[in-house]
């Protein structure tokens, strides 16, 4: 198994108390798997992504364990994590547009970064150039300042940079959100290329755009209000979801060719709970049409069939009856 996460719980410290952003996340990502991590804003997906690589205040590690390639990832220890960063686990951040030092030529920054991590820039350079070719960036980019590049170019450069040392796990945080549709396609496809050419072993793609995930992800994990709701192969999530939230989410997506006059777009009524003082038990129960009294207990994230995990008492009930 590439990545194993057990009971990962991370809160945000604020002056008014802890915001319980991530509660007992347990899941695995296999070698070569591209797992999509989806959910609405504030569901905890970025928290999850960041806590794996840079758990820094105001984030606070509460409990849990993370294992990558059978080695423990000490995510709570900023110092010790440094050995793993860039080399075993890496991230394409949400702010990729601003991720590079504006007053340093890109090539210079790359070389300084590599050297500081005890990697020779000289020996890495040929591979770097090959990858630049792959993402269709000219080698001249290394001699330019970030401000001279377009948004899409910067995105691609950061992608190349983050994956340069062939990490086992690459976290891609909202890498398509700021791009136009055609750029989105190009970037998403590049991500798959990286995995196919084994530059990276597994990828976690964090996004709120499920349609992208449909194109590139092997599996999708849905989160809601800091809790894991469902995880399954992409086809299953899209065409046969079991969790009520996932079902509502998928059905609220517009479909190509369907006109509004024929079928109305429905959302999910209500709002996600504030995580400063979240409701006990399943956090979706206030909006869930299937909620019943058992839901005041937190449903565990269990495998109901092969490679299909759900956290919902109703689903367990249905399964038990089946």
């Amino acid at each position: 198994m590439s990545l194993q996460v057990e009971n990962l719980t991370v809160y945000y410290q604020t002056l008014r108390g802890d915001v319980r952003a991530l509660e007992s996340a347990t899941f695995t990502v296999a070698d070569g798997e591209i797992m999509g991590l989806a959910g609405e804003s504030g569901c905890g997906k970025t928290t999850l992504g960041h806590s794996l690589i840079r758990l820094t205040p105001p984030m606070r590690f509460v409990e849990g364990s993370v294992t990558l390639d059978n080695e423990e990832l000490p995510v709570w220890d900023m110092g010790r994590m440094n050995d793993f960063r860039f080399k075993k686990i890496s991230i394409i951040p949400q702010y990729a547009m601003n991720a590079m030092n504006p007053t340093r030529k890109i090539g210079k920054m790359t070389s300084e970064l590599l050297e500081s991590r005890k990697v020779s820039f000289k020996t890495t350079l040929p591979e770097l150039k090959r990858r630049l070719d792959l993402v269709k960036l000219s080698h001249d980019v290394l001699n330019m300042y970030p401000i001279e590049l377009s948004g899409g170019m910067k995105q691609r450069m950061v992608m190349v940079l983050s994956a340069l040392l062939d990490p086992s796990l690459l976290i891609a945080d909202e890498i398509t959100s700021a791009l136009d549709v055609s750029s989105q396609k190009a970037v998403a496809e590049m991500l798959v290329e990286f995995r196919d050419r084994e530059f990276v072993k597994s990828v976690i793609v964090i996004t709120h755009d499920i349609s992208i995930l449909y194109q590139i992800a092997d599996s999708i994990m849905i989160m809601y209000a800091g809790q894991l709701a469902e995880k399954a192969f992409t086809e299953v999530i899209i065409h046969a979801p079991r969790h009520p939230y996932t079902k509502l989410l998928i059905s609220s997506l517009p479909k190509v060719g369907v006109k509004y006059s024929e079928k109305r777009l429905t959302g999910i009524p209500g709002n996600p709970p504030l995580l400063l003082d979240p409701p006990i038990g399943c956090r979706f129960r206030d909006r869930c049409p299937l909620a019943f009294d058992k839901c005041v207990e937190v449903p565990p994230f269990i495998e109901i069939e092969k490679d299909h995990f759900v956290a919902c008492w109703k689903v367990f009930e249905e399964n038990a009856q089946a």
């Binding site: 410290q13 002056l15 205040p57 105001p58």
Partner: protein, 286 residues
């Protein structure tokens, strides 16, 4: 909407912010002293009260007396008044002029902005002291008010720059676009939409101008270009040095005024930082 909640939240943080409390306490202390002080002493600043000349602080003369036998404490509390006046008038004027230039430049942009920018840069580069020297040296009688006006007229570029930058960023916000679309006149937009959103920022700018004005006034007074008809802290220091207080060790003449200025201006700066933390949640410490 969430406005009332926001206000009380700010008050909550304001009352708990250490920097704010310390800063405001110090300023308040001196302010009270300015009003109460003259009542505590029954002399006038320039009265010759002690025939023995310079005397160290005692129970009769709290801050001692000057070379000429004048009560230092009396001079001190009257000087405080001058300093606060300069701060408010000079700082206020500087802020107002800065607002005028900054708002217009930031809102209009384009050519207007370029011209105003050049003007600001020119006034910035000219050493204000030199200009004031020339102008003030020619005037016979000067009061605290005139001094404040001069200071305000030369200190505004700082405020203008800061306000312009803020106006720029606010101008591109949706609610301003909406106001423009609805046909609101630019002046109205500035005063009813943009300015209220910058209130906290304007307050910070004013505080810095206040402190700066006090410092500039102290320097001017020290050189001898201050008010000719009033006592000021800078003037006290000027007199002290002029009449050899240094050589004769009459420290009580020059130490209090300097301590007061340092304390007030320092408190203003600290208050500024504290207020910034209250207004800007990101800066609050965990």
């Amino acid at each position: 909407m969430t406005k009332p909640k926001k206000k009380s939240e700010m008050l909550y943080f304001a009352l708990r912010n250490n920097k704010l409390r310390v800063g405001l306490t110090i300023i308040l202390f001196f302010l009270v002293l300015t009003f109460v002080g003259p009542m505590l002493t029954h002399y006038d600043p320039y009265d010759y009260v002690n025939p023995n000349g310079a005397q160290p602080p005692s129970s009769e003369y709290w801050f001692g007396t000057t070379m000429f036998g004048q009560d230092v404490f009396t001079q001190f509390v009257h000087g405080l008044k001058a300093s606060f006046l300069v701060g408010i008038v000079g700082g206020g004027l500087g802020t107002l002029l800065g607002m005028l230039v900054g708002f217009i430049a930031g809102y209009r942009g384009g050519m207007v902005d370029e011209v105003l920018n050049t003007l600001t840069n020119i006034v910035l580069v000219i050493p204000t002291l030199a200009v004031l020297l020339i102008i003030v040296a020619y005037l016979e009688v000067r009061g605290v008010f005139i001094e404040s006006v001069f200071i305000g007229c030369t200190a505004w570029p700082w405020a203008a720059r800061a306000i312009r930058a803020q106006t720029f960023s606010l101008r591109s916000r949706d609610f301003v676009d909406l106001a423009r679309l609805s046909g609101m006149k630019p002046w109205k937009i500035l005063f009813t939409e943009i300015a209220p959103n910058m209130m906290s920022y304007l307050l910070l700018v004013f505080i810095l101008q206040f402190g700066g004005a006090i410092l500039i006034a102290a320097t001017l007074d020290f050189i001898g270009l201050g008010p000719t008809n009033a006592v000021s802290l800078g003037l006290m220091m000027n007199n002290a040095v002029l009449w050899g207080a240094l050589l004769l060790g009459v420290w009580w003449w020059f130490v209090p005024p300097g301590v007061a200025i340092t304390a007030i201006v320092g408190a203003l700066y600290v208050t500024n930082v504290g207020l910034d933390e209250v207004f800007n949640p990101k800066l609050r410490e965990m």
